[in-house]
Amino acid sequence: MNRFLWPLIIVAGLIVFLVMGLRHGDPRALPSPFIGKAAPEFELPTLKNPEVRIGKQNLLGQYSIVNVWATWCVMCRAEHGFLMDLAASRTIPIYGINWRDSRPDAIRWLDELGDPYIASAFDADGRVGIDWGVYGAPETFLVDPGGTVIYKHLGPLDADIWQREFVARMNSRGAGT
C-alpha cells in the first residue's frame, strides 16, 4: 500500500473518534462511581428534629430517592415543585440531604415552599456529601431496596427526566411503579 496514505487513514480515524465524542454528551457530567455499588453508610441528625437521627438503614426495604438540596441552590428551587408533586403521588419515599446549609434557613424554606421529604438529613459540614460524591446541588440518587445505588441525576428533576431515567430503570428491574 502507498505509505503516503497513512496520514489520511490516521486522520480519518481521528475524525470518526471526534464524531463519537460529540455524540457522547456533556463533558462536565461526572458519572457516579457508586452506580451499581452499595450506597454509602451515613448517620446524621434530621433537619427539623436534631435528636432524631437517620441513616442508610432508613432507605432499605423499598426503592427510595435521596435528593441533595440547599437553600443557596437556585436549581433546587426550580425542581422543588416537581418534588412536591412526586411526594403527593406517594409513589416513592423521598429523603433529603440538606447540604452545607443553615438550619433555620432550611427549615424556613421548607415551611414556605412545602416539605416533600420523609425526612432531611442535616449535613452541616458536607462530610456526608463528600461520602456520596456530591459536587453540585441538586443531585438525586435512586436507591434500590437492597441499598444499591441504581442511578444518579445531576441537576434539577422534572417529570420528563423522572420518567425517562428513574421510572424506566425501576421498571426494568421489575419494580412496577
Binding site: P33, R127, I130, G136
Partner: protein
C-alpha cells in the same frame, strides 16, 4: 535509558518541591509538604479546571479539610487517593494513577521519542548512502 527515566522522575520530584507555605495546617513540615502536594493534584469538581489548592469554592475547602484530616490520622497518599477515587472517580485526580490504563500514558513520551529516533536513524542512514551534490559545502 534508565538514567533518562531517573532524570525525568527527578523532574517530577523537583517540580513538587515548590516552596509553599500555607495557613497553619500542620506543624510538621513533612506533613505540610504532603498536604500541599496532594491538594495541588486534586481537581476541584465544582470548577471547570482547577485544583482544590487554587479554588475558593466550598467543595474545595471541604476537600482540603478532609485531606488534612486524613493526613493527621496517618493515612497514606494511596489511601487518600483511594478515598477520593471511590467517591468521585479517577477524574478527581490530576495525576493519573499508575494503573493498567494509565501506564500507557506515562510511557507514551518515551515510546514516542524511541519511535521517532528509530525513524530518524533509518532516514539518516539512507541519506548517508546517497551521493552528496558536488556544490561546495558552505559555512553555516
Amino acid at each position: 535509558m534508565r538514567r533518562y527515566i531517573a532524570v525525568m522522575l527527578l523532574a517530577l520530584a523537583a517540580s513538587a518541591a515548590f516552596a509553599i507555605d500555607e495557613e497553619k495546617r500542620f506543624d510538621d513540615p513533612a506533613m505540610q509538604a504532603r498536604y500541599e502536594k496532594l491538594i495541588a493534584e486534586v481537581r476541584c469538581l465544582q470548577c471547570q479546571n482547577q485544583s482544590i489548592k487554587d479554588s475558593n469554592v466550598t467543595l474545595a475547602a471541604d476537600l482540603r479539610r478532609e485531606i488534612a484530616r486524613m493526613i493527621d490520622e496517618g493515612q497514606t497518599d494511596e489511601e487518600i487517593a483511594e478515598f477520593l477515587v471511590t467517591r468521585y472517580g479517577e477524574f478527581a485526580l490530576y495525576r493519573p494513577r499508575t494503573t493498567g490504563k494509565t501506564l500507557v500514558l506515562w510511557l507514551a513520551p518515551f515510546l514516542l521519542v524511541l519511535f521517532g529516533g528509530l525513524a530518524l536513524v533509518r532516514i539518516v542512514r539512507h541519506r548517508m548512502s546517497l551521493p552528496i551534490d558536488d556544490e561546495p559545502a558552505e559555512e553555516a
